[in-house]
């Protein structure tokens, strides 16, 4: 939901896609220092997401000090990041929330890719009329701010984890539709596709054997970038109180829950810790994506 996720010109095919990552990295590709930093951060958070619930010192909704009441929620022995507004352990909740924030985003991005790539490549190989209708409908979706679409859907059907996954998946599919359609079109006019067509190969064969192998790598690099936007979108919805619902923890809603207590002099750690977690995760992914883009050959955006 970060603003830049719509940086694709909505109407004009010829406006360049500066925001796209570049083509596939070469076989000898190696990460630079910043890339490694990103990789270490992301690996750390994936580890927490997978093993967090097992390693967490307390349960998600288990009071660490049932008989004790902490006014300012400050860190202390047993609750190293302090306790939150409901006197729950911030660190444990973050470890539970990691899997939820990252899991929802990952499933949503994968879903967006399934929808976007199938329809996008489908549009690229279809007749111009079908292609035009699909693209125009897609443009209408692209010209809406993602958070607005999210708000309307949540208002309509209420918020739950499956709803969040499907909503984010469908909303972000439109960006991927544009990318994979553009890629598909670009490949469709290549000589080897022409040759295959002259040879009498069917449409499905061409998609499977000519388009897919050529489109797969650029799409994979783009996946990282989309994942960032989906994480920000889900976290922002949760932050607005319209995403993951209490008592379940996720990073965005943790920021919201603890924000109100700030003006009564509560510790800022329960607010800053989950916000910092999201920021390090997305910046980490961005460092890897940027590194991969910088080291790849020709800029994809130039060829689109």
């Amino acid at each position: 939901m970060k603003q830049n996720d719509h940086y694709v010109a909505p109407y004009d095919e010829n406006v360049s896609f500066d925001e796209l990552p570049d083509a596939a990295p070469s076989a000898r590709f190696r990460l630079s220092v910043t890339g490694w930093i990103g990789a270490v951060i992301v690996t750390f958070w994936v580890f927490i997401a997978v093993f967090g619930p097992a390693l967490a010192p307390y349960g998600e909704n288990e009071l660490p000090f049932p008989d004790d009441y902490s006014e300012f929620q400050l860190p202390r022995a047993g609750a190293w990041l302090g306790t939150d507004v409901a006197d729950l352990d911030v660190m444990s909740r973050m470890m539970y929330g990691a899997g939820r924030t990252m899991g929802i985003s990952f499933v949503a991005t994968t879903l967006a890719y399934l929808i976007g790539v199938v329809l996008g490549i489908g549009a690229a190989v279809s007749s111009p009329r079908v292609d035009m209708v699909m693209s125009r409908i897609n443009d209408a979706f692209l010209s809406l701010p993602t958070i607005m679409l999210g708000l309307v859907v949540v208002a309509a059907v209420g918020s739950s984890i499956p709803v969040l996954m499907v909503t984010a998946g469908v909303i972000y599919a439109s960006v991927i539709f544009r990318l994979s359609r553009a890629l598909g079109q670009e490949i469709m006019v290549m000589d080897f596709v022409e040759a295959a067509r002259v040879r009498g190969e069917g449409r499905w064969w061409i998609i499977r054997r000519e388009i897919w192998p050529n489109a797969a790598m650029p799409l994979m690099t783009d996946f990282g970038l989309r994942l960032i936007y989906v994480i920000l979108f889900i976290s922002s919805l949760s932050f607005l109180g319209l995403g993951v619902q209490p008592p379940q923890a996720d990073w965005g809603s943790m920021v919201r829950e603890n924000l109100g207590a700030l003006q009564y002099g509560a510790s800022i750690i329960p607010v800053i810790a989950p916000a910092l977690a999201i920021a390090t995760l997305t910046v980490g992914i961005n460092l890897i994506v940027d590194d991969v883009s910088a080291h790849s050959g020709g800029k994809l955006s130039k060829r689109l």
Binding site: N4, D12, A140, A155, A275, N286, L287
Partner: protein, 316 residues
């Protein structure tokens, strides 16, 4: 050129229509009936039927849509379901806050970030350029509420200035009082748009700098400053206007999180409340306002893009 702009405007109009259809029918598929919500649980069947007729809910959907659209265009946004107050009254004292914060963000954030971005493009590869790139890459990927929290930490806790949570009325406050009142939200939004603007304006100028005629100027021995100000910048103006319009469109979404974070009454907090109370009339009206602003800014970005680049005027 004129015909192309007209064509874009036409496409923009169709987009707006499509957007209104998505918003209207998106909120229509929901379970729950506006008449039922307004009358409460204790209402009799006749009462609800009468209310349905009054609200025009007994008409077919396409007629409802038409009435809604005509009303919207004539400035009548309907009556809020949860508070029974006309939406225009609800908006009245809130839109000033949103407008004030976003226009001041644009007035402060845009020139500063453009300057930083162009400076980075003037000296690519230097330490300044690399630090700026790293900071903007990090800021682009960080959520708005993280930036906001850092600023709160810095201003309120470390420097002991500003107020973390903007409360109270803004009535009767002078311009400068308002600025200090909204200092934190405005600074946050400035950071949010700056990260994008710096990256994109730098890319726009670098793009021009790599063109053959600049190379020619370098070979002729034109001084570097003159190349930038006389040769490069003029041709980068179009892309930069495009970038600015795009980023102002992003401001529309950025403002939602920032308003909720700092808890001041604006249009965005209103629509979030609308979603929480499932006030569909409110969501429809405000959703249209937000989307319209967004579409118009995107349209400006689009027109600026091809107005500045003759190659885009002749699509293949």
């Amino acid at each position: 050129m004129i015909s192309l702009i007209l064509k874009r405007l036409g496409i923009g109009l169709i987009t707006v229509l499509a957007v209104s259809i998505i918003i209207f029918f998106g909120t229509k598929i929901l379970p729950g009936d506006a008449a039922q919500i307004r009358m409460g649980q204790s209402a009799t069947a006749e009462n609800i039927a009468a209310m349905r007729a009054r609200l025009g809910l007994d008409m077919p959907y396409y007629m409802q849509y038409w009435h809604w659209l005509v009303n919207f265009l004539s400035g009548n946004l309907g009556v809020s379901l949860s508070s029974d107050v006309p939406i225009t009254n609800l908006i009245d004292d809130r839109y000033k806050n949103t407008l004030f914060v976003s226009s001041l963000t644009a007035a402060i954030g845009v020139p500063i970030s453009l300057m930083l971005g162009i400076l980075a493009a003037m000296y690519p590869g230097t330490l300044y350029d690399r630090i700026l790139t790293l900071v903007s890459v990090s800021l682009v990927a960080a959520p708005e509420f993280f930036t906001a929290t850092l600023l709160v930490l810095l201003f309120v806790f470390a420097l002991d200035i500003g107020n973390a949570v903007v409360v109270g009325s803004t009535e009767g406050k002078g311009f400068f009082e308002l600025i200090s009142h909204f200092a934190l939200p405005i600074t946050t939004l400035c950071f949010v748009i700056a990260s994008q603007l710096i990256r994109m304006s730098r890319a726009a100028v670098l793009n021009v700098m790599s063109s053959p005629y600049i190379e020619m100027a370098i070979l002729k021995g034109v001084p570097r400053k003159r190349i930038i100000f006389r040769h490069a910048l003029l041709n980068a103006i179009g892309p930069i206007v495009n970038v600015v319009a795009l980023n102002l469109a992003y401001l529309v979404t950025g403002v939602i999180v920032v308003e909720v974070y700092f808890g001041y009454p604006g249009l965005a907090t209103l629509i979030v409340q609308g979603v929480q109370t499932r006030d569909f009339v409110l969501i429809q009206g405000l959703g249209m306002i937000f989307c319209l602003t967004y579409v118009i800014l995107m349209l400006i970005a689009d027109i600026a893009a091809f107005a500045s680049n003759p190659r885009l005027r002749h699509p293949k």
